[in-house]
Amino acid sequence: MRVDLDRQGFAIGGENTAVSRALAAALLDNGAAEIRAGISDILILSLPLCPGPGFDWSAQKALAREAGAAMQARGPGEGRGRILFLLSAAAALPLRRFPDYSADMAAALAFMRALAMQLAPEVRVNALGAGLIGDPPLAGDPAMLRHAALERPGTISELVDAALFLLDPRATYLTGQMLSVDGSWSVGYGRNF
C-alpha cells in the first residue's frame, strides 16, 4: 500500500528498534523526510516492544508533550500534526508475568488517549499495539502465539503498514485509538481452544 506523505517531515523519539527503523524506511519510501530540528508533521514515539522489566518512558512523554504543543501552536490545519506511539498490545491487556511492564504500557496508552483529546483537532494521536512480531520476536512474547487465532507471528511489514494507515493524511477522523496488530491475541486470551 501507498500513503501520500509527500513533503511531510517526521521525527522518531525513544527506543531505536528494528520496528522503528523499518517504520522510518517506510515513511521515507512514501515521500516523507526525516527532520532533526524544528517542528515535524509526524512524530513517532518508540517504546520497548518486547515484554520485560518496567521501563522509563519519561523522555518519550516529554517529547510528545513538547512536540504536540508545537504542532498545535502552528495554528489551524486540522490533523496536520500526527503523533504515533509504538506500544505493545499488552497496553490494553496486562501480562501476568510482566506486571511492571504492563503497568508502564497501560500508562502510555492512557497518556496517548488523553493527549489525543487535548491536542485535537490540530493533531491526531494514535497508537499501534504490537503483538508477537517476527521470529525471533522483534515485539511481543512467544507465549502470545497460543492465543492468536492466526497461529503465527506477524511480520514487521504488517506492523509497519498499520502504522502507515494510522499516519495516512486521509485518516482524518481517526484519533485517540490503539490499533493492535496481534493476530487476535488480545481478543483470544480467554481460552486457547
Partner: protein, 263 residues
Amino acid sequence: MQTELDGRVAIVTGAAGAIGRAICRRLAENGARVVVSDVVEGAAQAFAATLPGGADRVMACRIDIADPQSVESGVADVLRRFGQVDILVNNAGINTQAHRVPIDAFPPSEWDRILRVDLDGTYFMSRAALAPMLARGAGGRVVNIASVVGLAALRLQSSFVAAKAALVHLTRAMALELGPRGVLVNGVAPGSVLSEGTRALFYSPDGSFAGRTAEFMDHVPMRRPGTPEEIAEAVLFLSAPESSYVTGQVLAVDGGWTAGSAF
C-alpha cells in the same frame, strides 16, 4: 491510502446509505469488484451506476439482510455474476428515529425491528457470504460496521446500543473462529457521522435535537461529526492485503469521542 484489491469481490450491505456509498466508492477506486446491495433496490441501482468500472466490475442487487431468503438469493446472484466472494462489509443497520425513549417506554415492536436487522441480519448475511468464501479456500475479510454506542452506551436508543455492543463482541468471536481458516474479521465503530439520519437529529436547523448539538460536540475532541469517507478509509485498510495480521479488532473512527472523558 492506495492499495491493490485486484478484482476481489466485495459485498457491501446497506450500500445505498451514506456510509455504504462511501465504502463502495473507496473499494471500487482501489480495484475491487463491488456488489452494491440494499433493501431498496432502486437506490442501489442508481448509486451503482455512478461507480467507476461499469458492469464488469460493479453490480447492484436487492438484499434484505433481515430476510434469510433474500440473503441467500442475493449471494447466489453475486456468485452467478462474479463467481466468488472475498470481502463482506456488514454495513446495513437501522436505529430508531421515532422512539427516542427510555427502556421502560420502548415499544417491543421497535426493539424487534432493530435487533432483527442490526444483529440477526448481520448473522444471516455473514453465514451466507462465508459459505462460498470458506469453500473457495482463498481466505477473505469481513468488516462489521458497529458503532461507538457499542463501546460507550448512550441513552434513549437501548435496542440499537444493545445490538451494536453485540456486534462488537460478535466480531471478536468470528475472528477467533475464522482466523485459522484464513478469514479475518474486524469492526469499525463510527462516531457521529453526517448522514440523512443524523441530519434529521442533530445537523440541520430543524433536527429534533438541534438545540443540543453544540453540547454534544463538546464531547468530541475534534468538535465535528465525521464524514462517510472517513469511515470508508478504515474499512479500506481492514479490507486491504496489508492488514493481514489484524483480526478481532474494533477500530473507533470517532474524532476521539471514546478516547476518554473530555471533561
